[in-house]
């Protein structure tokens, strides 16, 4: 019997966007195209649009102020991210100059069409939200954001209606909320149950696994995409394992570095849409993107990974 695989519905705009992204990637990626094409993607449950399983965070790394040398280095990292098949870049008005640095890099790179722009609103009272969002948009220099999230749930009761209204008017494609390092998970759950969210952003890594109990299952149940922040515990996890040799079974899951092993643990969870490691290094962004490739660990291997890293 022939199995019919349901194809996610896409509107004309999404189709054009995808085609444009593919065209831009073909031009800019050059010899990297084959590698970029094999990047693992995950669907956003609310639309079916697929996102690469590894994105790019900007906390600390892209906050370099007016330093032109550092800004050029950030642009090189972002350029390599796109070349390797990346799409989602995440920032926040809380991150100092990061938004402007990303905007400058996008301009240098000729506004890559593959970009999936994820930003946040972080202000109280909520009446200040629209002005802050517009300032952020000008920093990025994009026509509109793909995703806006309420940063750390700050004034979420006021911001979510604003974001939902923007989405209804076509000024925004997706709405989400964020938290980090395990804070306010009960409130996050409550919002996930009550509000029509497209995305939730949480901290998850091989050590910090609180979200496995309730939030990740709830995200699957409610059809909410999950972005994972702090995949390396802001570098602490990498420092913890860096001097240890990779376990002999790392090759079985296609890992040649600890960063890839740690990322594969995260993105192999079926509820996770995208992990967003931050880096200032071209080599590291390339290495991180390599994690978004088959093979991924199965459940028994994931348990083995968690036990191994916890013992280090």
């Amino acid at each position: 019997m022939k199995t019919v695989v349901p194809i996610p519905s896409v509107n004309r705009r999404q189709l054009l966007h995808t085609l444009a992204a593919a065209g831009a990637a073909a031009v800019s990626a050059g010899t990297h195209l084959a590698r970029a094409d094999s990047v693992l993607t995950r669907p956003i449950p609310s639309s079916g649009e697929r996102l690469p399983a590894v994105g790019l965070g900007s906390w600390i790394t892209f906050n370099v102020g007016y330093d032109e040398v550092a800004r050029a280095a950030c642009a090189e990292v972002i350029g390599n991210f796109f070349d390797a098949g990346g799409r989602l870049i995440d920032s926040s008005p809380m991150y100092g100059s990061s938004q402007a640095v990303i905007g400058g890099a996008l301009k240098r790179l000729g506004k890559p069409a593959a970009l999936f722009s994820a930003d946040k609103v972080w202000t109280s009272p909520g009446s200040r939200g629209p002005a802050q969002i517009e300032t952020s948009r000008l920093h990025w220099d994009v026509p509109r954001f793909d995703l806006l999230q309420v940063h750390n749930l700050l004034a979420w009761q006021e911001h979510l209606p604003t974001l939902n209204a923007m989405k209804a008017k076509g000024q925004l494609r997706y709405v989400g909320i964020t938290t980090s390092e395990g804070r306010r998970h009960r409130e996050v759950e409550e919002i996930m149950r009550k509000e029509p969210l497209d995305f939730v952003q949480v901290t998850y890594n091989v050590i910090d696994r609180d979200v496995e109990a309730r939030i990740l299952p709830l995200a699957r149940e409610r059809g909410i995409a999950v972005i994972v922040n702090r995949p390396f515990q802001q570098g602490a996890l990498i420092e913890r394992v860096a001097r240890r040799p990779l376990p002999p079974w790392a090759g079985e899951i296609g890992c040649t570095s600890w960063a890839q092993l740690l990322l594969k643990f995260i993105i192999s969870h079926p509820a996770v849409t995208c992990a967003i490691p931050a880096t200032t290094s071209v080599a590291h962004v390339r290495e991180n993107m390599e994690a978004a490739r088959e093979p991924l660990p199965h459940e028994a291997m994931r348990r083995r990974m968690a036990v191994h890293v916890a013992a280090l």
Partner: protein
């Protein structure tokens, strides 16, 4: 802030150590040779502080006020705020300290203890000399580039330590109004350096502790003035 007890200092650090110290490198190169002028002003203040009368005290207070105002504008507002949104508030606090120095040190008078008048004046002058000469050397000593050195009246830390030295030399209850902002900055700067794992993170808190200890334990009237 919900669940405030779950936050660590590192949650508030928005930039990397490399970016922070690179800020000083770019700042130093942009204002060169202003550092020479700043050092000359500092040396002139030190000379005046050796035997201070009413006009010398006022000149020292005015120079300090100008230094705080410059740091507020040129460092905090114009440069540091590009990587740390809280620097806008630091700029406000530094400008306020400049106004306080003008009010209580120029319009009124600080009444400075002269050099060589006991342990307290030695500590005051010692802190000033440390800020002017030794503090700039700490960065290179712990491995940072010479181009990133922090100079009195240019960078906040040595400016604050020099001010603490002058306030240790000063008498009168109004000087207590001048202490909170420098002390708070010592804590902020120390916390920032500690979070960045800087080897010299203890310098500012220790300077604040020394200044407070001698200020609290000092006689109510100035000697040798």
């Amino acid at each position: 802030m919900s669940e405030w007890w779950t936050y660590r200092l590192s949650n508030f650090l928005l930039f990397s150590p490399r970016t922070y110290y690179r800020l000083f490198e770019l700042y130093n190169s942009e204002i060169w040779p202003g550092q020479v002028l700043a050092l000359l002003v500092g040396l002139a203040m030190l000379a005046l502080a050796r035997n201070p009368g009413p006009w010398q005290s006022r000149v020292i207070a005015a120079a300090l006020a100008a230094s705080w105002l410059w740091v507020a504008w040129a460092f905090h507002y114009t440069r540091y705020a590009s990587i740390n949104w809280a620097a806008i508030y630091f700029a406000g606090a530094f400008a306020l300290e400049a106004l306080l120095l003008l009010g209580f040190g120029v319009v009124k008078e600080l009444q400075l203890r002269r050099a060589g008048a006991g342990l307290l004046s030695a500590v005051g002058i010692g802190l000033f000399v440390f800020a002017l000469v030794l503090h700039p050397l700490i960065g290179p000593l712990v491995g940072r580039s010479w181009s990133q050195i922090e100079i009195f009246a240019i960078a906040p830390d040595p400016t604050v330590i020099a001010t603490l030295g002058v306030l240790v030399l000063a008498s009168g209850s109004s000087t207590w109004l001048l202490l909170p902002i420098p002390i708070l900055w010592c804590l902020v700067s120390g916390a920032t350096a500690w979070t960045m794992h800087s080897a010299d993170a203890a310098v500012m808190p220790v300077a604040a502790a020394v200044a407070l200890a001698v200020r609290i334990g000092r006689p109510s009237k100035p000697d040798g003035y």
